[in-house]
């Protein structure tokens, strides 16, 4: 896939957003590209019938999870909703295991019993993967409760979307998190559409950073397409939570390029709107442009692209040929 023509700006970071070192830019580029290519491949495999059910792609939102991951420390937990492949890859979970779960094979993270929306990794402190909109917000607050109980210095990074932000349990959780000063960073990924309903049609208060204000939870809006801005905001929020000051809300202004799920024709928005985002704000193209300007060559980037493609192809190959779970697995892992 050739580099897309981009008008992404390469100016200095906006005020308050530190510039990245070359190493950081390369890391962000590589990690975001892995999610992009992984998701594109998942889309293809869905089309081939290898992946079933729902499949919610993260394409366009990559800077959010990578910027946050770059701000997090070892031991911090991640929990999210059903658009979760990017979050898993960002925590370092293996492409093979994620892809094999998508295809329902025994080598998947949940032995093929979870699917796209339900994967976990204790090792990477990734707590799913939840299919009920908003459910992960209470659960993530519980992870924060456990950190507080154990006084272990870890922070729960709890992701949810603009749609989930209208669920009642979100505010029940906000209330308790602030009441008990739990170490939770709520990352609201505002990609402007809750399935087919735009934020303006669903939300009385469309500035989600203010959704915690009646609980005195600080919040800020962040350019979720700029990985540098995400990382900087993530560091502020994580430091706040880690110091025992309680939860913090980051509203990431982002955009999903694909439909809500594979079966969504996305007729609720114009092609022009999507195209404008892709050409002017693409999170990966922004980094790519800065890298080229900073002296990294096209060849250097091509090498990275090839490595990523190799990882994704290997994952797809594994996920295609790995056997389905043994029928005996039907009755395992119900109770312990």
């Amino acid at each position: 896939m050739a580099a897309r023509k981009s008008t992404a700006r390469t100016e200095a970071a906006p005020a308050g957003v530190p510039t990245f070192t070359k190493e950081q830019e390369l890391l962000a580029y590589r990690e975001m590209l892995l999610i992009r290519r992984f998701e594109e491949k998942a889309g293809q495999m869905y089309g081939m019938g290898l992946i079933g059910g729902f499949c919610h792609l993260y394409i366009g939102q990559e800077a959010v999870v990578i910027g946050m991951q770059m701000a997090m420390k070892q031991g911090d937990q991640v929990i999210t909703g059903y658009r979760d492949h990017g979050h898993m890859l960002a925590t370092g979970m293996e492409s093979r295991g994620v892809m094999a779960e998508l295809t329902g094979r025994r080598g998947g993270y949940s032995k093929g019993k979870g699917g796209s929306m339900h994967m976990f990794s204790i090792e990477k402190q990734f707590f799913g993967g939840h299919g009920i909109v908003g459910g992960q917000v209470s659960l993530g607050t519980g992870l924060g409760f456990a950190n507080h109980y154990r006084d272990n210095g870890a922070v729960s990074v709890t992701y949810f979307g603009d749609g989930a932000a209208n669920q009642g349990q979100v505010y029940e959780s906000f209330n308790m998190a602030e009441l008990w000063k739990l170490p939770v960073v709520y990352v609201i990924e505002n990609n402007k559409y809750a399935m087919g309903t735009s934020v303006n049609r669903a939300s009385a208060q469309t500035d989600f950073s203010k959704r915690g204000s009646s609980f005195n939870i600080p919040g800020e809006q962040v350019d979720g397409m700029d990985v540098r801005a995400v990382k900087a905001a993530g560091e502020r929020a994580l430091a706040f939570a880690r110091e025992g000051k309680g939860p913090y809300i980051l509203e990431m202004l982002t955009y999903r390029y694909r439909g809500h799920s594979m079966s969504d024709p996305a007729k609720y928005r114009s092609k022009e709107e999507v195209q404008k985002m892709r050409t002017e704000h693409d999170p990966i193209e922004q980094v790519r442009a800065r890298l080229l300007e900073g002296g990294v060559t096209e060849d250097d980037l091509k090498k990275i692209d090839a490595e990523i493609r190799e990882i994704v192809n290997d994952a797809a190959d594994f996920a295609t040929h790995d056997p389905e779970p043994d029928p005996s697995e039907l009755y395992t892992d119900i109770v312990r």
């Binding site: 937990q77 929990i79 998947g108 993270y109 949940s110 032995k111 093929g112 019993k113 979870g114 699917g115 339900h118 994967m119 976990f120 990794s121 204790i122 707590f127 799913g128 993967g129 939840h130 299919g131 009920i132 459910g135 917000v137 209470s138 659960l139 993530g140 607050t141 519980g142 992870l143 924060g144 409760f145 456990a146 950190n147 109980y149 154990r150 729960s156 009642g168 349990q169 029940e172 959780s173 209330n175 308790m176 009441l179 395992t332 892992d333 119900i334 109770v335 312990r336």
Partner: protein, 465 residues
């Protein structure tokens, strides 16, 4: 006209209380709103306020008297010009203006027909067979179900620092039903956590904490309120082990009173045993005795799986013998033969046992020996114990307060059809709560619940007598 002050009821299920203190003395002038006395039950202490004006003419129940029945006259207020000599004997009739009576009780209703003993009002006097889990010769102590549950939690919290309890009013208030009494004092606010009234949120938080490895005990003030949270009990707690391919376990107990209390209406009187029994990934426990409450709650807290622990408000105050053992833990998923018999098998659990045991006692007088099985755990269900009994008796009646359709009794019937058909000499009958929302009126509520008479009738039907 002298006015009787009656022993008030403090809660829907209160039947008696202690008169701890008289604040006013005989001869004192009282105005409406004055505090006359303090009374207490095992749940709370409350002040009795005067409703009428006059002079406290005579105190009929002395300070320090225990177990004063609700509606007993405790004092007489004299109007202008009346004197204490007018009060020759305490009036037995109900006074028009009782002292506060914060909530009316079933006692205000006409007395139940004498032919049908009310199982609920009085704990059955029948003896229950000793539990085979308890070594012979073990010293027994008498305690209420309430105390047994509290002791179970306290013992497990002493044993494991990861165990904590959270819920509404569990800490400073000492528990809405006083099940967590004293826990805050012993374990502190970090481990005994008062939550806002926010079931959906704190149930999810509890599950999240369990996913991170803690062992929460989540108290619902009643299971009626857990409907707000049922998504997390099922979608988050019960399914995660499976969905994670065995990676993430969720060791958590959801506990609280379940089922009908007394006169609290349709939204507060529902039995959820069948609901949770339906869900793979959950264990569902519903004890009857204090010993089982203790041994099974300790087991539930240690269990690596989510356990729905269904208590019963009316049983909280019932007393039973509990073995005095350092660490009394019972196996989840094992029924207990509460009474041996050869003619019919009665299967019940929780408060249903009060009907089953009373019925068995009555039936014995009629020459029918019922074997009574206390299921104790609804899921996993100890079907083999039921079948073994049915092999002997050839007949079976199930007893539950829950609704008939898709009830736990229905499941037992289906299991017997599939696995013990050849041993049955009669169709299996179910005695259940009626297929209606719980009415408020005392007489209708009584009709909506199962009765001892219905159990006896069902047994007579299956034994063809």
């Amino acid at each position: 006209m002298p006015i009787d002050i009656l022993m008030p009821a403090l809660s829907p299920t209160m039947e008696k209380g202690n008169l701890t203190k008289w604040v006013k003395k005989e001869g004192d002038t009282v105005k409406s709103g004055d505090i006359l006395a303090e009374i207490e039950t095992d749940k709370a202490t409350m002040e009795v306020e005067a409703v009428d004006e006059g002079v406290l003419g005579k105190i009929l129940v002395a300070e320090g008297t225990q177990d004063v029945a609700v509606n007993t006259p405790i004092a007489v207020i004299l109007g202008e010009g009346e004197d204490a000599s007018a009060v020759s004997a305490p009036a037995a009739k109900p006074a028009e203006s009782a002292a506060p009576a914060p909530s009316p009780t079933a006692d205000a209703a006409p007395a139940p027909q004498a032919a049908v003993p009310s199982a609920v009002a009085n704990p059955p006097t029948v003896s229950i067979q000793p539990d085979p889990e308890v070594p012979a010769g073990t010293e027994m102590v008498t305690m209420t179900v309430r105390e047994a549950l509290r002791d179970a939690m306290a013992e497990e919290m002493r044993r494991d620092g990861d165990v904590f309890v959270m819920g509404e009013e569990v800490a400073e208030y000492q528990g809405a039903y006083k099940i967590t009494q004293g826990l805050l004092q012993e374990f502190g606010a970090k481990r005994v956590v008062d939550t806002p009234i926010t079931e959906h949120g704190f149930a999810g938080m509890g599950v999240g904490a369990a996913m991170a490895g803690l062992k929460p005990i989540v108290e619902f003030m009643t299971f009626n309120f857990a409907m707000q949270a049922i998504d997390h009990l099922i979608n988050s707690a019960a399914k995660t082990l499976y969905m994670s391919g065995g990676q993430i376990q969720c060791s958590i107990v959801f506990r609280g009173p379940n089922g009908a209390a007394a006169r609290v209406g349709a939204q507060h009187s529902q039995d959820y045993a069948a609901w949770y029994s339906h869900i793979p990934g959950l264990k569902v426990v519903a004890p009857y005795t204090a010993a089982d409450a203790k041994g099974l709650l300790k087991a539930a807290i240690r269990d690596p799986n989510p356990v729905i622990f269904l208590e019963n408000e009316i049983l909280y105050g019932h007393t039973f013998e509990v073995p005095k053992l350092d660490d009394y833990v019972l196996p989840i998923g094992k029924a207990r033969i509460a009474r041996s018999g050869k003619d019919v098998t009665l299967v019940s659990w929780s408060i249903g046992m009060t009907y089953a045991l009373k019925a068995a006692e009555e039936l014995a007088k009629q020459g029918i020996e019922a074997e009574v099985i206390d299921l104790r755990t609804i899921r996993p269900m100890d079907v083999p114990t039921i079948i073994e009994s049915v092999k002997k008796t050839g007949r079976c009646v199930t007893v539950e307060e829950g609704w008939p359709q898709s009830g736990v009794g229905s499941e037992i019937v289906a299991q017997l059809m599939e696995k013990a058909f050849d041993y049955l000499d009669a169709p299996v009958l179910r005695v259940t709560g009626k297929d209606v929302p719980m009415p408020y009126a005392a007489n209708l509520e009584k009709l909506a619940l199962p009765s001892v008479a219905e159990v006896i009738e069902a047994v007579r039907a299956v034994t063809y007598r």
